[in-house]
C-alpha cells in the first residue's frame, strides 16, 4: 500500500531538477553529473558520443542501483571546455545525428509505401492506419535478392 507510483521511474517529481552537477574537487576539469529519471538508454549513448569528441580525457557512466532511477556520468576534459559544455555539445551532436537519420527514415519509408501500393501488397500504407486494407501473410516487400525469408 506504500508502494511508490510506478511512473516515478520516469517522471520527474514536482520541482525535482533533472540534472545535478558535482564538480570534482581532486581532478582538474572534471565533473560528475547526475541525471535523474533516465537510464542506460541515454547514459550509454552519451558516454559513447563523449568518447568520440577530442576534448574528452575521460567519460564513463554508471547506474548506481537498478532500483534507483538515475545514472551518473563522469567527464574529464582537457581544459578547453567545461564538462557541462562538452555534455551539452554531445547532446546537440546526437540530436543532429538523429534528425538526419529521421529524414533518411522518412525517405526510405516513403519509397516503401510506393512500392507497397504498386507491388504485391504486403507493405502498404499501414503506417497511418494499422488496420490498412492489405491482408495478412502477403509475400510482398521481398528481400533484396527477390527471395522470401521462408525460402531457406
Amino acid at each position: 500500500m506504500n508502494a511508490p507510483n510506478r511512473y516515478e521511474l520516469y517522471v520527474l517529481d514536482d520541482g525535482e531538477k533533472p540534472v545535478e552537477i558535482i564538480e570534482d574537487t581532486k581532478i582538474p576539469n572534471a565533473a560528475t553529473i547526475k541525471i535523474v529519471k533516465q537510464d542506460h538508454t541515454l547514459g550509454n549513448m552519451l558516454r559513447a558520443q563523449l568518447l568520440s569528441m577530442p576534448q574528452i580525457l575521460f567519460a564513463g557512466y554508471k547506474v548506481p542501483h537498478p532500483l534507483h532511477p538515475h545514472f551518473i556520468i563522469k567527464i574529464q576534459t582537457d581544459g578547453t571546455m567545461t564538462p557541462q559544455a562538452v555534455l551539452e555539445q554531445a547532446c546537440t551532436k546526437l540530436i543532429g545525428t538523429m534528425s538526419s537519420l529521421e529524414n533518411k527514415f522518412k525517405r526510405e519509408f516513403s519509397f516503401k509505401d510506393v512500392e507497397g501500393t504498386v507491388g504485391a501488397g504486403g507493405a502498404t500504407a499501414a503506417t497511418d492506419d494499422p488496420y490498412g486494407g492489405s491482408g495478412m501473410g502477403g509475400t510482398g516487400g521481398a528481400w533484396p535478392g527477390g527471395r522470401d525469408y521462408l525460402d531457406f
Partner: protein, 383 residues
C-alpha cells in the same frame, strides 16, 4: 566510435510489412543503435487495459487471471501522443474521456459447446456516453482536444472487425458460465509495464561473422559447421582465413527487425523512437542550461569572478549541485584565506591541463582549502 563521425549515418529498409520493418542502420556506433532499440521497446506510449472491474465471473479462471490477460490485449494506439492524456496529468479525479477508454465485455454461453471469449468481444464505449465515468456532473472540466485527434479505431482491440485476423483468446466458457466486466484502458509506457510496449519483438544483430569477437562460439569440432551464418551475413564481406584480428575495429552496421503487436504501425514505432530519443536529449540540454543561469542569478551578481570568499557562499547557494556543500559554505569561506582563493583562480585561469595537473599535486594535503571552493571553479566556468 571514432571514425563514424566522418560518415553520415544511413539506413536501408529491406522489408516493410503491416506489422514489421526490417532495416539496416550504418555508420552509427553500437551505443546509439542500442539506444534506438531500447527506446522503441520501452519508451513509446500506447494504450492498454489498466483497470478491470469484474461484475460476473463464473468461468473457471479467477478474476486476477482474466484481468491480467485483458491487460495484454493490444489496443490500437496510433497518435497516442496527442490523442490521449496521461491520467496523472489529467484534471479529472479518476478517469474521463480525455485520459481513459472504457471497454466492456459481456458474454454468456447458452450452447452445449465450449465457447471462446476473445478480444473480439471487447466493445469500446464511445466517448461521451453518459454515465461512463460515474455521475455526469463532475465531468465539467477541461475537456481538451484529445478526442478530436483520435482515429476511428483508437482504443479498439487490434484486429477487431477485420476478417482474417485471429483474435486473442481470453477464456473458454461452457454452458451456463458468464463473464461480465468493464475495463479502463490508459496510456502508459513499457518501462512501467510491458503491456504498453508497441513491440512484440525487436531483433538486433551486428557483426554476423563475429569478426570483432564480441562473443565466443562454443563448438565441438568445427566452428563454421556448427554455427550457421545468419541471413545478415550476406550483407558483409566474409573474413579471410588468414585475416589478423583487428582489436581496434568497431561495429558500424546494425540489422534491426522491429515487429509490432499491432497497436502502432512499424513506421510510427521507428519515427516515435527517434523523436523520443531527441526529446530525452533536449530535456537534458534544458536541464544543463538552467543550472548555470541560476548560478549567475544568485552568485554572479555579487562576484562575477567568484575569486573571493564572499562569492563562494553565494555561489554555493545557487549551484544546485553543491547543495550539500553549501551547508558548509560559511565554514569554507572562513577557513579559506583570500590568498589561497587567489592562487586557485590563477591555477584555473591557466586552463592548460598540465598546469592544473601540477596544481593538484602541490595542493596535496591542503587540497581541501584550495579545492574546497568548487563554486569558484564553477563560477569561473560559467561567467
Amino acid at each position: 566510435m571514432q571514425g563514424h563521425d566522418d560518415l553520415e549515418p544511413t539506413v536501408h529498409i529491406r522489408e516493410l510489412k503491416k506489422d514489421k520493418v526490417n532495416f539496416v542502420l550504418k555508420n552509427v556506433d553500437l551505443a546509439f543503435a542500442n539506444s534506438l532499440r531500447r527506446v522503441m521497446m520501452a519508451d513509446i506510449p500506447t494504450v492498454a487495459i489498466d483497470m478491470v472491474e469484474i461484475e460476473i465471473n463464473t468461468t473457471v479462471l479467477p478474476d486476477e487471471f482474466i484481468a491480467h490477460r485483458l491487460g495484454m490485449v493490444p489496443l490500437a494506439s496510433s497518435n497516442c501522443d496527442e490523442a490521449i492524456r496521461n491520467t496523472r496529468d489529467c484534471t479529472c479525479l479518476a478517469g474521463c474521456d480525455s485520459c481513459s477508454i472504457m471497454l466492456v465485455l459481456n458474454v454468456a454461453c447458452h450452447d452445449h459447446h465450449t465457447m471462446d471469449v476473445t478480444s473480439h468481444h471487447l466493445d469500446v464505449v464511445p466517448p461521451g456516453t453518459p454515465g461512463t465515468w460515474g455521475d455526469g456532473e463532475e465531468q465539467e472540466h477541461d475537456a481538451g482536444e484529445e478526442l478530436s485527434k483520435r482515429g476511428e479505431r483508437f482504443g479498439h482491440p487490434v484486429g477487431k472487425d477485420e476478417p482474417g485476423t485471429p483474435p486473442v483468446l481470453l477464456c473458454k466458457i461452457r454452458k451456463g458460465q458468464e463473464l461480465k466486466l468493464r475495463c479502463v484502458a490508459k496510456k502508459g509506457i513499457a518501462k512501467e509495464h510491458a503491456k504498453w510496449s508497441p513491440c512484440s519483438a525487436v531483433s538486433f544483430e551486428y557483426d554476423p561473422y563475429n569478426k570483432l569477437r564480441h562473443t565466443t562460439h562454443w563448438f565441438e569440432s568445427d566452428e563454421r559447421g556448427e554455427w550457421p551464418l545468419s541471413e545478415n551475413a550476406k550483407e558483409e564481406e566474409p573474413p579471410r582465413d588468414d585475416e589478423p584480428f583487428d582489436f581496434n575495429a568497431q561495429p558500424s552496421q546494425f540489422y534491426f527487425e522491429v515487429e509490432t503487436d499491432g497497436s502502432l504501425g512499424p513506421q510510427e514505432v521507428v519515427m516515435k523512437g527517434l523523436a523520443e530519443l531527441q526529446t530525452k536529449l533536449a530535456n537534458l540540454i534544458l536541464g544543463l542550461k538552467t543550472q548555470p543561469e541560476l548560478d549567475i542569478l544568485t552568485g554572479g551578481e555579487q562576484q562575477p569572478n567568484g575569486n573571493n570568499a564572499d562569492g563562494w557562499g553565494a555561489g554555493g547557494g545557487g549551484g544546485g549541485g553543491w547543495g550539500a556543500a553549501s551547508g558548509n559554505g560559511g565554514g569554507w569561506g572562513g577557513s579559506a584565506s583570500p590568498t589561497r582563493g587567489g592562487a586557485a583562480t590563477s591555477a584555473w585561469g591557466a586552463t592548460s591541463p598540465h598546469s592544473s595537473g601540477g596544481a593538484t599535486s602541490t595542493w596535496g594535503g591542503g587540497a581541501n582549502a584550495g579545492w574546497g571552493s568548487p563554486e569558484q571553479q564553477s563560477n569561473g566556468w560559467n561567467v
